[in-house]
């Protein structure tokens, strides 16, 4: 999908769609959702009536017909610009989501019937619980979970990654996404959602106006803007009797122009575009958000739970050395290590076989052996051979318990070796044969380059990073220090993660985490922002409130920045919009009264040409600033991790002071142009 991203903000077809929407959205029933722009629409309607009245009655008390019509058209333009902003944001989001959806609308699905036969249907006829069959070359018709088989799958349509991934039934990598292609082998998949309720469908619905709900912060900001609007209604309505007292005539056009210029139309017009663009930016980062609120919450995150593997360290640990216990033959020890790892599909297991070398592994067979899979509770795995040999490998404390329970003692040399490995940041894996410890294997982690700097950046944002790992505390501490995380949870079980999240939440902090396994689901649901990996199980994806299509654990950091950007864009544009009022007052107030109270001409500090040109310039500036700021609204204000105070100073300087100065220059420039025509 990355390759399909539009490079320009304003693609031709999107612009056409947005222009169409600009007119559709003039419908007052839609407009009333945005109180600021709704009042502008009311003002526009009044100006239309006034213009028509002038046209038919020839009354001259309200200024010339041309002037009134111009004001009417400018106000209409203001509305259209605001609608266009929302329209283009929607169109971009929809285009993004559509390109994901398009691939699978008409995909044929091979429905598996109860008797085992296969029937060809269209993918949108699939229902939740149906089974379908896919083989090499097939497009997967729907999101689902593999219940049988293993396949390599090209997910580039969604993630942009060209390397195929392996998906297989019965583990944490059993989930497949509609629109991806099976490259080899064959799988049977169970449909996990009704048509129209997949994550993509939900995402599209969020971007489209119909089901988009305002987020809590958006509601609070709308109240603020509505409040400002009310204040300026009071200011403008009372101006009429004031003017009456001063024997000044204020035309309806001037009064409405003053009102429209004073109310925060800039932020009012761009507010919903900012919200949609926030979700769209998340989507562009290949994160599907289930609600707008989740993106907003991401900006508030205080604590980030990160899995060590893949996030902090590169891929997986690798076995680097064997240490047999005293009295244990080295080659026998290596052989039993290899035996216990043949069935182990994890990267660690494979690296043990690699280290053992082909000489050892060639002749090994598991014929008749019982495999003991790893569980989070026992934290060991291994194999029971037909000759009665029971080989186990796993964390030191787990095996220590095992051997003590069986009445043996743990050899001190192995304990010492384990300690040494752990202190050096390695992971010791202890091996036991028939409950007797025979030695240990050293696994080593490699910390990702640049990750330390990213954590530093997060710390400046005020986000605490917590490394979650199954390693023992010593190893965890070593890696935590080396990577620069603030805290770590060692030997983490899903319950530990849950407890940690709850503890942080109790002190009022917001917690984000990323997970993929089914056993992560409760913690994902508990976390304020839970990002599930797309490769993860369906349960994990249901529990989280975002899904990361790239399966990239560092994505959390980007998500936090997107959330912050969203809020900042709202804040800075509000400041800009309100600061603009100063200049607009100085343009319009003298224009209102100059004719009847010539002394007030002294307030015309910009030296505007005439009352009419002053009002027109202010209204034109007010209208033009909306499209001028659309790119900023869509891209978001750049987030700089420089600490809150420095950030406030910076934004206040750019958007506050800028908002004071820019309209003085803008209105004067427009007035110079307008005065050529009047």
């Amino acid at each position: 999908m990355k390759n399909q991203q539009p490079t320009s903000l304003f693609q031709r077809d999107l612009v056409m769609e947005a222009i169409k929407q600009s007119f559709v959205k003039l419908d007052p029933r839609i407009m009333v959702r945005n109180p600021v722009m709704f009042t502008v629409e009311v003002g526009t309607a009044v100006m239309l009536v006034v213009s028509l009245w002038l046209l038919f009655s020839g009354d001259a008390s309200q200024g010339s017909l041309g002037y009134n019509i111009t004001i009417f058209l400018l106000l209409l333009l203001t509305l259209l610009f605001a609608n266009f902003a929302e329209g283009i944001a929607e169109a971009r989001g929809k285009a993004q989501a559509d390109s994901l959806r398009r691939t699978r609308e008409d995909t044929p699905a091979k429905l598996k019937l109860a008797d085992g036969s296969v029937k060809l249907i269209r993918s949108n006829e699939l229902r939740k619980g149906d089974l379908f069959y896919c083989e090499a070359g097939d497009l997967i018709p729907s999101d689902g979970e593999i219940i049988e088989g293993l396949a390599s799958i090209d997910e580039s349509a969604i993630t942009g990654e060209s390397a195929p991934v392996i998906r297989e039934g019965g583990g944490d990598r059993s989930s497949v996404t509609g629109g991806t292609r099976v490259l080899s082998d064959h799988i049977t998949v169970k449909v996990t959602g009704e048509p129209g309720s997949s994550f993509l469908d939900r995402m599209i619905a969020l971007v489209e106006g119909a089901s988009r709900q305002k987020t809590p912060n958006e509601i609070a900001l709308t109240i603020l803007l509505a409040g400002f609007t009310l204040i300026f209604i009071i200011v403008c309505v009372t101006l009429q009797p004031f003017a009456g007292y001063a024997n000044a005539t204020v035309s309806i056009a001037a009064l409405i122009s003053l009102f429209v210029c004073l109310i925060p139309t800039t932020i009012g017009g761009l507010l919903s575009a900012i919200g949609i663009a926030g979700m769209d930016r998340a989507l562009r980062a290949n994160v599907i958000s289930k609600s707008g609120k989740a993106v907003e919450t991401a900006g508030d995150i205080d604590v980030l739970l990160l899995d060590k593997t893949g996030t902090i360290t590169i891929g997986n640990r690798k076995a680097t050395a064997f240490f047999p216990a005293p009295g244990v033959d080295r080659s026998t020890f290596i052989r039993s290590c290899a035996l216990s790892s043949i069935a182990d599909e994890t990267a660690e297991g494979k690296s043990i076989l690699e280290l053992a070398g082909p000489d050892v592994t060639k002749g090994l067979s598991l014929e008749g052996a019982a495999l003991i899979p790893f569980t989070a509770q026992t934290r060991t795995s291994g194999v029971d051979l037909p000759n009665g040999q029971r080989i186990r490998k796993g964390a030191q404390d787990a095996l220590r318990k095992l051997t003590l329970q069986a009445g043996f003692t743990a050899p001190a040399e192995v304990e010492a070796e384990v300690k040494r490995i752990a202190e050096n940041g390695g992971t010791p894996l202890v091996v036991a044969e028939n409950e007797r410890i025979t030695g240990c294997i050293e696994l080593q982690d490699i910390i990702k380059p640049g990750i330390r700097e990213r954590f530093e950046r997060l710390r400046k944002m005020g986000v605490k990073t917590v490394m979650v790992t199954g390693d023992n505390p010593l190893t965890a501490k070593y890696i935590a220090e080396k990577a620069g995380v603030d805290d770590f949870i060692a030997e983490a079980t899903p319950e530990d993660k849950m407890a940690y999240i709850k503890k942080e939440q109790q002190t009022g902090r917001l917690v984000a985490m990323m997970g993929d396994g089914t056993n992560d689901a409760p913690a994902l649901a508990q976390a304020d922002v839970g990002v599930a990996m797309n490769s993860g199980t369906q349960a994990a994806k249901e529990a989280g409130n975002m899904v990361d299509l790239d399966n990239d654990p560092t994505k959390l950091i980007e998500v936090v920045e997107i959330g912050k950007q969203l809020l900042m864009t709202r804040g800075t544009l509000t400041t800009f919009s309100i600061a603009n009022d100063v200049a607009k007052y100085f343009a319009i107030v003298p224009a209102l009264f100059m004719a009847s109270i010539p002394a007030l001409g002294a307030l015309n500090i910009m030296g505007l040409h005439s009352p009419e040109s002053a009002i027109l310039s202010a209204v034109i500036f007010n209208a033009l600033i909306i499209p001028a700021l659309i790119p900023l609204a869509l891209r978001g204000v750049a987030y700089k991790p420089i600490g809150a105070s420095a950030l406030l100073r910076r934004n206040l300087l750019i958007y506050g002071l800028g908002g004071l100065i820019v309209p003085f220059i803008g209105i004067k420039a427009i007035d110079l142009a307008v005065s050529l025509f009047i």
């Binding site: 509505a226 009372t238 001063a246 003053l258 944002m461 912050k564 009022d581 950030l647």
Partner: protein, 565 residues
């Protein structure tokens, strides 16, 4: 001469500041229930009151109970004062034989003293008796100030770093505000005034024979005590009609300094009390900085303009070496009067020592702006509440600007708080502009009302000033306005009630709601509210929201007058 006058002003300002800091610390101790200076004297008095009234001062209230207590007790005071004023003619202690008040005047007066405004549409010498001065007006000057302080104390309590509904006891805060702050300070100030020649007597009018041989009746009364609390409680209602310009209310330059310090001290001290109470002294200095910046921005131009005098008189070639002295007292001078006119308007005292009607046009505008913003120090207790609302608005916008949903003191600001803050922020322009608009409409369409002494822009300023003064609960008058008519008595009375109680209810509700929320500890990403940058933001919000809404009105009033000179 000029340097001496300026030196006097500096003494007043810094003297107040030096006294306000320790006073603030003491107030924080009193509200925090810690041991404080007056425990041995006042402790038994307070215990007696609580035992006598059956109030359990230890029982903590939530914000709604606070409001209920506050509003009920205010209602009772209002009814009591209405009764006293409408019957003062036959009630005791009326040596000068003054008549009872008409219903609409009694309504306006009772309301205006209950709400700490003291808009006076009567003159003390002829309109009130000693009984109503002491048991009506002066009583209310104490309790209305204590009401504001008690409300502020609840807000302090609500902003602590914890989650709770229990926010202390209203009656406890109220009584302690009286016994530990207002009463002791009033005694000190009253004694200083008495030694400087302010009368404190139960006797009626005295008559003297002047140098010209005329016989003059001089009104007297229990003035010193009245004037003390009039300033300490930022009430501003004078014992005599001409307020602190009256030689017996403000006899000398020294008493002028005492009265100046006593009206500024508690509003300033409350800011420091907030800092000591919450252990956020840097935040308190930020608030003080914003207030002082606003105050100086208004006061300095005023002093300069008043000292320079009127350009119209200069044009006539008449020397104005002592400044614009029309409507000013010789013993006080132009500079001190200009300074006073801003102090009395930024805080809600409204006592005057010169005619604001005669101020230079832009001085008049600054006096108006001081009341329109109403947050630079502000009245006793309520000043902090007003600035609290602006801080909430500023926190919301600047919180967004640093990329977090806004928090203040570890509590999230959400839709409900915004709604309340905006209603309060909206009320002020609504009251002022709508009131003035109705009056302007009335006088334009029926000149027979004839309540304006001046035509044109100045007349407009007079009406604008009256409503601004009422909405800010200030009580000063631009004068020149015939305001003892049913229209002005009733309309300003309504403005007074709404503008007093909604700006108390709103901040109390916001603080109460915030107190119930989960406390979020600070992090590097949290907006710091005790920095200069945030101070600039608060100042900007006050300037743009509060001041700019009045720009068109000011343009038609003082600004038009200024440019017409």
């Amino acid at each position: 001469m000029m340097n001496t006058e300026l030196f006097g002003i500096l003494v007043m300002f810094f003297g107040t500041l030096l006294l306000a800091i320790p006073l603030g610390r003491n107030i924080a101790r009193v509200y925090g229930g810690e041991r404080s200076l007056l425990d041995p004297v006042m402790g038994p008095v307070e215990r007696f009151f609580f035992r006598f009234s059956g109030i359990d001062a230890k029982r903590e209230m939530n914000w709604k109970e606070h409001l209920k207590a506050l509003l009920t007790i205010n209602m009772i005071w209002f009814l009591w004062t209405m009764f006293v004023l409408m019957n003062q003619g036959w009630l005791p202690w009326n040596p000068d034989g003054n008549p009872s008040m008409s219903a609409d005047l009694a309504f306006n007066t009772a309301i205006s003293f209950v709400v700490n405004c003291n808009l006076q549409h009567y003159s003390g010498e002829t309109g009130a008796t000693y009984f109503s001065q002491v048991f009506g007006m002066m009583f209310l000057q104490f309790v209305s100030a204590a009401t504001g302080m008690a409300a502020a104390a609840m807000v302090f309590n609500a902003l602590r770093e914890r989650t709770s509904e229990k926010l202390g006891n209203f009656y406890d805060y109220f009584l302690k505000s009286l016994t530990r702050v207002l009463l002791p300070l009033s005694v000190v100030v009253a004694v200083l005034l008495m030694f400087s020649g302010t009368p404190q007597t139960a006797a009626g009018k005295d008559s003297i024979v002047t140098l010209q041989g005329d016989s003059v009746e001089v009104s007297l009364g229990p003035v010193a005590g009245f004037v003390a609390i009039k300033h300490l409680g930022t009430n501003g209602g004078g014992f005599f009609g001409t307020n602190s310009a009256h030689p017996l209310e403000n006899p000398s330059y020294f008493t002028n300094i005492v009265e100046m310090i006593s009206q500024l001290i508690i509003p300033m001290a409350m800011v420091f009390a907030l800092g000591y109470y919450l252990k956020r002294r840097k935040f308190a200095w930020m608030v003080f900085g914003v207030m002082t910046a606003g105050f100086l921005a208004l006061a300095i131009p005023n002093i300069v303009m008043e000292v320079n005098g009127s350009p119209a008189i200069n044009a006539l070639g008449i020397s104005q070496s002592s400044g614009a002295m029309e409507g000013k007292e010789m013993r006080l001078g132009a500079a001190a009067s200009g300074f006073w006119s801003i102090v009395t308007t930024v805080i809600s005292t409204g006592s005057v020592n010169s005619m604001h009607d005669s101020s230079m046009p832009l001085s008049g505008m600054n006096e108006l702006l001081a009341m329109m913003t109403n947050a630079f120090y502000g009245g006793v207790g309520v000043g902090i509440l007003n600035v609290f609302v602006f801080i909430i608005l500023a926190v919301f916008i600047s919180g967004l600007m640093v990329g977090r949903t806004p928090e203040f003191m570890g509590k999230k600001i959400e839709a409900r708080e915004m709604k309340i803050a905006l209603i309060v922020a909206l009320l002020h322009p609504l009251m002022i502009l709508a009131g003035t608009a109705l009056a302007a409409y009335g006088i334009t369409h029926d000149p027979s009302y004839a309540w304006l002494n001046n035509p044109g822009a100045h007349g407009f300023s007079e009406m604008l000033y009256e409503y601004t003064s009422a909405a800010a609960n200030n009580g000063s008058g631009f004068e020149g306005l015939g305001d003892n008519t049913p229209w002005w008595n009733i309309s300003t009375g309504i403005v007074l009630i709404l503008s007093r109680f909604l700006p108390i209810i709103g901040p109390l509700a916001i603080a109460g709601l915030l107190a119930q929320k989960k406390y979020i500890p600070e992090s590097a990403g949290t907006l710091k509210t005790d920095t200069g940058t945030f101070g600039v933001m608060v100042f900007g919000v006050i300037a743009i929201v509060a001041a700019l809404s009045f720009f068109p009105a000011l343009a038609l009033g003082p600004i038009a007058e200024y440019f017409s000179f």
